[in-house]
């Protein structure tokens, strides 16, 4: 897959957008490291809690969903909230 596949980024955006109060502040950076794809997600400071959740529960759910797409692409996906 030489062409950059944006489907992981798109999915992460789809998942996160309705959860935050300031969707315009969402940025996602994709870093391809061979078999692994790292997605660096950042949101407005006041929205951090909304993507992390108590004991990281929201973050865990977001990762789960994005990983499902990764599985279909045959890639390992890491979502970092920065």
């Amino acid at each position: 897959m030489s062409r950059e596949d944006s489907s992981l980024k798109d999915l992460l955006m789809t998942v996160v957008k309705p959860l935050v109060s300031d969707p315009s502040a969402i940025t996602i950076k994709q870093i391809n490291q061979g078999h692994t794809i790292v997605l660096e997600l950042s949101v407005a400071p006041e929205d951090m809690g909304k993507v992390i959740g108590k004991q990281g529960r929201r973050a865990q759910a977001i990762r789960s969903v994005v990983k499902a797409r990764g599985t279909r692409l045959g890639k390992r996906v890491v979502v970092d909230i920065v």
Binding site: R58, I62, V65, A68
Partner: protein
């Protein structure tokens, strides 16, 4: 004398509910024919309403059929609206599924404070995940969206390809087989770790099972049910 009405709705279930409400009858009293299953479509594409025909038969329905003649005032349905958060939640689930790469069909219905979203389609495995982990994540996120603006709490249950129903059957089977073994051997048995909903199924199944008792042990994701012989003291 038979009376039949046709009704369209966003989903088959919704059309049926609306028709039954209009007739003031329950599903047991009528014959339901699905004329068109409709299509919710993903991301609002290919949307087509579902249509059902409801037929009431039998002599004791005569008065009811009279009454339905006068029933046609749409304002009476104000209590059964399609809540905006309901549509948002369904669209959210649809866009997550299409983002994962699942092409299926979504149907939904409201039951008291619970919004059921059922997905059918082929090759859904990756949206379910190991032990339903991805499915639980989708359900959790959907319930966040559903409850974002709503003042009353909405429970959201998402099922994909009947996974939850099958899993429930499996869990009931495991509970009963293990309980029999425990009752016979007198040795407690630890089941594998399960989420709260799954543990609840085990506890409920064995609530009245003679000779055994159940409780949970362990922390968080590692919490599991113990089936133990009932202490005879």
């Amino acid at each position: 004398m038979a009376l039949s009405i046709e009704k369209s709705g966003k989903t088959v279930q919704r059309a049926i509910n609306e028709a039954l409400d209009e007739l003031g009858l329950s599903a047991d009293d009528v014959v339901i024919e699905v004329l068109d299953e409709g299509e919710i479509g993903l991301l609002g594409l290919g949307r087509r309403p579902a249509t059902v025909r409801i037929t009431v038969e039998g002599p004791d329905q005569d008065q009811d059929s009279e009454a339905t003649e006068y029933y046609g005032d749409d304002e009476d349905y104000a209590g059964d609206p399609e809540m905006p958060e309901e549509t948002e939640t369904i669209d959210y689930v649809a866009s997550i599924l299409s983002g994962i790469g699942i092409h299926g069909r979504i149907s939904s219905y409201r039951e008291d404070d619970t919004l059921h979203i059922d997905v059918t389609g082929q090759d859904c495995g990756s949206a379910i995940g190991r032990r339903g982990e991805t499915l639980d994540a989708i359900q959790y996120l959907a319930s966040l969206v559903a409850n974002k603006v709503s003042e009353t709490r909405i429970r959201v249950i998402v099922d994909i390809a009947g996974y939850r129903r099958r899993r429930q059957d499996t869990l009931i089977g495991i509970a009963q087989r293990t309980a029999k073994k425990v009752a016979r051997s007198g040795e407690p048995f630890n089941l594998e770790p399960m989420n709260p909903a799954e543990r609840r199924i085990i506890h409920a199944t064995l609530q009245d099972f003679p000779g055994v008792t159940t409780y949970s042990e362990g922390e968080n994701a590692q919490r599991y049910v113990v089936i133990a012989p009932e202490s005879v003291e």
